[in-house]
């Protein structure tokens, strides 16, 4: 049985280009989300006849990252976009995504949602597992390998702090992925052309039937303030004419600081 695979993609500003002042900067898929896209495409190849779709929550500027996902071969995309969504937190974002998953599933049941382990801006890693909880689906975070996929379930591998765990999840399910899982492909020229022309529907609060108590300004957490981390003051250059002299001078410093 073919699968309906859905990838959640967040459009973010590259870490190297002023992530702190994102206004007006171009967005691209958050780095780990690219691995989720690639894995969806690979699963589609593993289970012939499967379909892939991408889902993003964001401002109109998030259309560009969705187009770049389409250029890789994902067939369709939806953008959740509404001024009322502003001011939310990861759990409320997951709520809105869960409504979209339900809406998509009403047309064709989604078996598997793939997310990156965390984004490069918020870095919370909450959206995947929270989405699963809103849907009442099982989840596995930090997955590094899809070992096996069948019509009703899949087996995945993930690295925990103390070792490697293998677990089976019955569909429908949510996975979050690490970069170890694959090597993302590059878009083809044909893909880019097709993506440019694709229609990307936008769904707002009323399309989703969202409960105003659960998203946007009603989210349970809010950002009070953000401040740039001051650059680390440079330190001491260790003197010495030979490696041995330098090693001795460094060891002395480390000993002073009780690090040896």
């Amino acid at each position: 049985m073919p699968l309906n695979l859905l990838v959640c993609v967040k459009g973010t500003v590259s870490s190297t280009s002023g992530a702190l002042r994102p206004e007006g900067q171009p967005l691209s898929p958050s780095p780990l989300d690219e691995y989720a896209v690639e894995e969806a495409l690979r699963l589609k190849e593993r289970v012939p006849g499967s379909k892939t779709a991408a889902l993003s929550l964001g401002t109109p500027a998030s259309e560009e990252p969705l187009r770049s996902v389409l250029s890789l071969g994902v067939e369709s995309a939806v953008l959740l976009c509404d001024e009322a969504f502003a001011g939310g937190d990861p759990v409320s974002s997951a709520y809105l995504l869960s409504l979209a998953v339900r809406k998509l599933s009403a047309a064709a049941p989604v078996q598997l949602v793939l997310c990156g382990k965390k984004t490069n801006d918020g870095e919370s890693g909450q959206v995947g597992p929270a989405l699963a909880a809103w849907l009442g689906w099982p989840s596995a975070c930090a997955v590094r390998k899809v070992v096996e996929v069948s019509e009703t379930s899949l087996t995945v591998e993930r690295a925990l702090e103390g070792g490697v765990e293998t677990l089976a999840l019955s569909f429908p399910a949510v996975l979050t992925l690490t970069k170890e899982i694959n090597e993302p492909r590059l878009p083809s020229l044909k893909g880019k052309m097709a993506a440019r022309k694709a229609q990307i529907p936008r769904w707002g609060a009323s399309d989703l039937g969202a409960d105003a108590a659960l998203y946007g300004k009603s989210a349970a957490t809010s950002v009070v303030k953000t401040a740039p981390v001051p650059p680390r003051a440079g330190g001491v250059s260790i003197p010495g004419n030979t490696p041995e002299e330098k090693a001795r001078a460094l060891a002395e410093k480390l000993k002073e600081m009780k690090l040896l």
């Binding site: 909450q126 989840s139 596995a140 019955s170 349970a220 060891a251």
Partner: protein
């Protein structure tokens, strides 16, 4: 959830350094409001040792053990327990376990969650305020959790570890409903026992492209062993296949904050710094004195790492009289 929340509840899957950090953070929060501190553990296997870590109460879940269970099983088992306890704040470790479970609990309890907190305090109304790192370590955000219970996962190594004391927690048993999970753990293969886990490591010796190949990690491992350090790596070293991914530090790897980070042949690109720049002391060992890592290192040692790393190991041995 509750209009009358009380106390701090720490949730742990095992007794490990991360759990001691939960109790260290939890004790400070509890004392700031004169409220009790509790620790909830999956089962009684380590009850004796856990009871000595400074909690006022130790809650043990009865029923099928949750140790090693998937996160949806934990969510189902903990929801009624947390509703009954009605804590002001719930702390979980910033491990794969904690960061998988906490969002599920936040949804189940309609609670607010802060991930990977670096600091925690209460505002005058008793709401949780937490600082956390965002934008690849370039900024710190302060987050207010406007509802109770306030959930937080703690960045490993960011909080002082509770040490075993004389005071013993009162041990209470709580029955958890038989959890139905739609996931099943098939196997768990522990990592080689000799390897120090990166996330909770006090010291880390890390290698990058400058090592020149997989064999370059041998002298690094030797230095790490002498220091009692874990071994880290840049993405370049991992992508080249010189060392497994679990060692990768940075934006698309692990975020760590050891007391000592020794960067050997790592230039210090922003994506690498994202994972380690809050380390207490950074040592840079590099040929290039102008690369970002050498510019920000507490101690920069210019030169060929092929000579410097073994020289440092030899010096440490000499100091120890071996």
């Amino acid at each position: 959830m509750s209009a009358d929340p009380k106390g701090i509840l720490c949730v742990a899957d095992a007794l490990c350094p991360a759990t001691a950090e939960l109790l260290g953070a939890g004790r400070a929060l509890a004392d700031s409001r004169g409220e009790p501190l509790a620790l909830l553990l999956a089962d009684g296997a380590e009850a004796e040792a856990a009871a000595a870590l400074g909690a006022d109460r130790l809650l043990l879940l009865e029923g099928p053990s949750l140790a090693g269970a998937p996160e949806d099983a934990w969510e189902a088992a903990l929801k009624p327990v947390l509703e009954a306890e009605s804590p002001r704040a719930v702390l979980l470790p910033g491990t794969v376990f904690g960061r998988s479970l906490a969002p599920r609990l936040a949804v189940a309890l309609r609670a607010g969650l802060v991930s990977d907190a670096l600091t925690l305090r209460f505002d005058p109304e008793g709401r949780l305020l937490a600082e956390r790192s965002i934008c690849s370590g370039n900024a710190v955000a302060e987050i207010l959790v406007g509802r109770w219970p306030a959930l937080a996962t703690l960045r490993p190594m960011a909080f002082p570890r509770a040490v075993p004391g004389q005071k013993k927690a009162e041990i209470l048993r709580r029955s958890a409903p038989a959890a139905v999970s739609k996931a099943r753990v098939l196997s768990f293969v522990p990592e080689a026992a000799a390897e120090i886990e990166l996330g909770g490591a006090d010291k880390v010796v890390s290698g990058g492209r400058g090592l020149g190949g997989p064999e370059g990690f041998a002298p690094l491992r030797e230095l790490a062993a002498l220091l009692g350090a874990a071994v880290g790596a840049s993405r370049t070293a991992v992508d080249a296949g010189w060392i497994p991914y679990r060692h990768q530090v940075g934006l698309t790897g692990r975020s760590i904050r050891p007391r000592l980070y020794v960067a050997c042949g790592i230039s210090g690109q922003i994506q690498h710094l994202a994972g380690m720049r809050s380390s207490e002391v950074i040592v840079g060992i590099n040929q290039d004195p102008d690369c970002p890592m050498m510019k920000l290192a507490t101690f920069s040692v210019q030169g060929d790492l092929v000579k410097l790393v073994p020289a440092l190991s030899a010096e440490i041995r000499r100091l120890r009289g071996a």
